[in-house]
């Protein structure tokens, strides 16, 4: 059984937070999570979080939107009930292409944007009724927090580095016990 301390390190500003993160990582300490009142540029890279793949998802959603719009317009305007609008008979899809482009465009944007937001909410499990995961409500106001899970000796090192970089508080919030996998 491996004992680990749950530690909340509180900062008053983004700069000490960033410096502490960089130094902690250099010392080989893994940062479990960070909670900030606003997005801190470059924090994800400093924490060593891999780049998000939401852009790829968004691209796929966009293509889905394009295809859906094309299918819908082809079915309605060409296949099911061809109309002669303004002397432009709809015998073939390409023939009336310019008229279909705005809808294709809007549908692409609609699907990409909405599905991307849904994907983000689902993947970070931020849904109505879900209990908040934020361990310290002050991080929604003016405090910045790092969440660490460390062994006793690492905790000492982390505390020193955090204090040196201007941490306002280092709070021990209990322990967890990890079953070794082998």
């Amino acid at each position: 059984m491996l004992k680990k301390n749950k530690i909340h390190v509180i900062f008053g500003d983004e700069e000490p937070l960033m410096n502490a993160v960089l130094e902690l990582r250099k010392a080989g300490i893994r940062i479990k999570d960070a909670f900030t009142p606003f997005p801190v540029h470059g924090l994800d890279a400093a924490m060593g979080i891999p780049r998000t793949r939401i852009a790829i998802a968004s691209f796929l959603f966009g293509i889905t939107g394009t295809s859906l719009a094309t299918l819908m317009m082809w079915y309605m305007m060409i296949y099911d009930w061809p109309n002669d609008i303004g002397g432009k008979p709809n015998w073939a899809y390409y023939y009336n292409m310019p008229a279909f482009i705005p809808i294709t465009f809007e549908s692409t944007v609609f699907c990409a944007a909405h599905l991307m937001v849904l994907t983000y909410l689902l993947s970070s499990w931020l849904l109505p009724g879900v209990p908040p995961k934020n361990p310290d409500p002050r991080t929604t106001d003016d405090k910045f927090m790092l969440y660490l899970e460390l062994t006793d000796e690492q905790s000492k090192l982390a505390e020193d580095i955090a204090k040196k970089n201007g941490a306002e508080e280092v709070n021990y919030k209990g322990e967890i016990y990890i079953e070794p996998k082998y």
Binding site: A45, A55, P98, A99
Partner: protein
């Protein structure tokens, strides 16, 4: 952050000078050859039309480009944006071609009024006089908007734009005279005010000048969207030129303080404004196509009949190309690749200007892009590069007293 003080001053070295002179030399020879060759072309209502249209296209494209840079600079001030502080001198240098470009354009307008070239149909003698053989009833109905009123507007644009551009530059240089790290940002706030006013002036004049200078070539035709279409074109040309210049300067050891994120942001601009251009181009086309009103479709009829391949080509390389190639983050962070796309987009928008000017002047006598277009382009490119680099040399590459300098030096996206 460590900044190499020796590389803060750009040196316009002999190699770059030779390059600019060579471009101008090749261009000048081809312009002269173009006037001789085009003079052999004898058709009714054709008098060196293609040669003059080429000279005009080049003059307009590069003037519009520097105007786009001036607009971009004013916009950064008005929005109090910090990200572009490290590349501000590049934007300024690009915008400072404006007085030269406007002079060339103004000279061309005077030559038109003296009937030396026939780019503007409405400048023809007796166009509004029913007894004249040149009489054109459609233009006669619009003549109140042309004539002296046109000239008044033209002079107004030239004076206003030049004043704003030079004033923005002057304040920027004044601010440099204070010691580093000082708290005196008075000149910066002056420029913020100036930039905001420039946005107001530009919002109106960018549209009206496009109508006056470009749309009036096809005097019978009109489109309110034309101003924004031209504006988006000049904006994207400016963005791609400045991106190329920044990448080139970095390759030569300058601008090492510009973060990769700043260039990445320029790539994002290139991507976004390419879409804006396409949006404007297509909106104008689709409304005319759908309404199918004879007086409106003439614009696209001549393009469809005599310029079809060029029209598709311009749409393809200015839309599909940047869309597919600049979509991913990695492509915008690979600066060789970004420079490649920037070059394509830059040339693509020169061809777009050709598409605006040629059908109304050369018309059905068009034979496709030839050495004439290339040669004229090279001449203006050489002149433009020369003026821009000369202005880049006149001030340090990094501004000194700017409230957002520190932010820009650490830009991270």
């Amino acid at each position: 952050m460590h900044i190499n003080k020796e590389k803060l001053q750009f040196v316009f070295d002999a190699k770059a000078k030779t390059f600019a002179y060579t471009l101008m030399g090749i261009g000048l020879v081809s312009i002269i050859a173009m006037f001789i060759v085009d003079g052999q072309h004898h058709a009714e209502h054709y008098h060196l039309n293609r040669a003059w249209a080429n000279v005009f296209s080049g003059a307009f494209f590069f003037t519009a480009l520097s105007l786009g840079a001036a607009f971009f600079l004013g916009m950064q001030y008005a929005a109090e944006a910090g990200w572009a502080t490290t590349i501000k001198r590049v934007i300024e240098a690009t915008s400072l071609y404006l007085p030269y470009g406007l002079s060339i354009l103004f000279l061309l307008f005077i030559l038109g009024q003296l009937h030396i070239h026939h780019i503007y149909h409405w400048m023809a003698e007796g166009i509004a006089d029913p007894s004249s053989p040149n009489y054109d009833p459609v233009i006669a109905g619009k003549i109140g908007y042309f004539g002296w009123f046109w000239w008044l507007r033209t002079i107004l644009y030239i004076v206003l734009w030049t004043w704003f551009t030079l004033q923005l530059r002057k304040n920027s240089l004044e601010a440099d005279k204070y010691e580093l790290g000082g708290d005196n940002h008075a000149y910066h706030w002056k420029n913020v005010k100036l930039g905001a006013w420039f946005m107001v002036v530009f919002a109106v004049t960018s549209s009206t000048s496009a109508w006056d200078w470009i749309m009036s070539i096809d005097t019978h035709w009109y489109s309110t969207l034309f101003g924004w279409y031209t504006f988006s074109g000049l904006w994207i040309s400016a963005i791609s030129f400045m991106t190329l210049l920044i990448i080139w300067l970095r390759k030569n050891g300058y601008l090492e303080f510009v973060t990769e994120s700043t260039i990445h942001d320029m790539g994002k601009w290139m991507f976004a404004i390419s879409f804006l251009w396409t949006y404007m181009y297509f909106s104008q086309f689709m409304l005319i196509w759908y309404a199918d009103i004879p007086e409106e479709v003439t614009y696209f009829q001549i393009r469809w009949e005599s310029y079809k391949s060029l029209m598709w080509f311009v749409l393809f390389i200015n839309f599909a190309f940047p869309m597919v190639l600049l979509m991913s983050r990695d492509s915008k962070r690979n600066f060789n690749f970004l420079a490649f796309v920037g070059t394509i987009v830059f040339i693509g928008h020169y061809l777009d200007v050709i598409m605006m000017v040629m059908p109304g002047t050369v018309g059905k006598h068009w034979t496709g892009i030839s050495w004439m277009e290339v040669g004229t382009f090279l001449f203006y490119l050489g002149l433009f590069i020369f003026v821009v680099l000369k202005n880049l040399e006149k001030a340090p590459l990094l501004v000194r007293n700017h409230p957002f300098l520190e932010e820009s030096l650490h830009l991270h996206t």
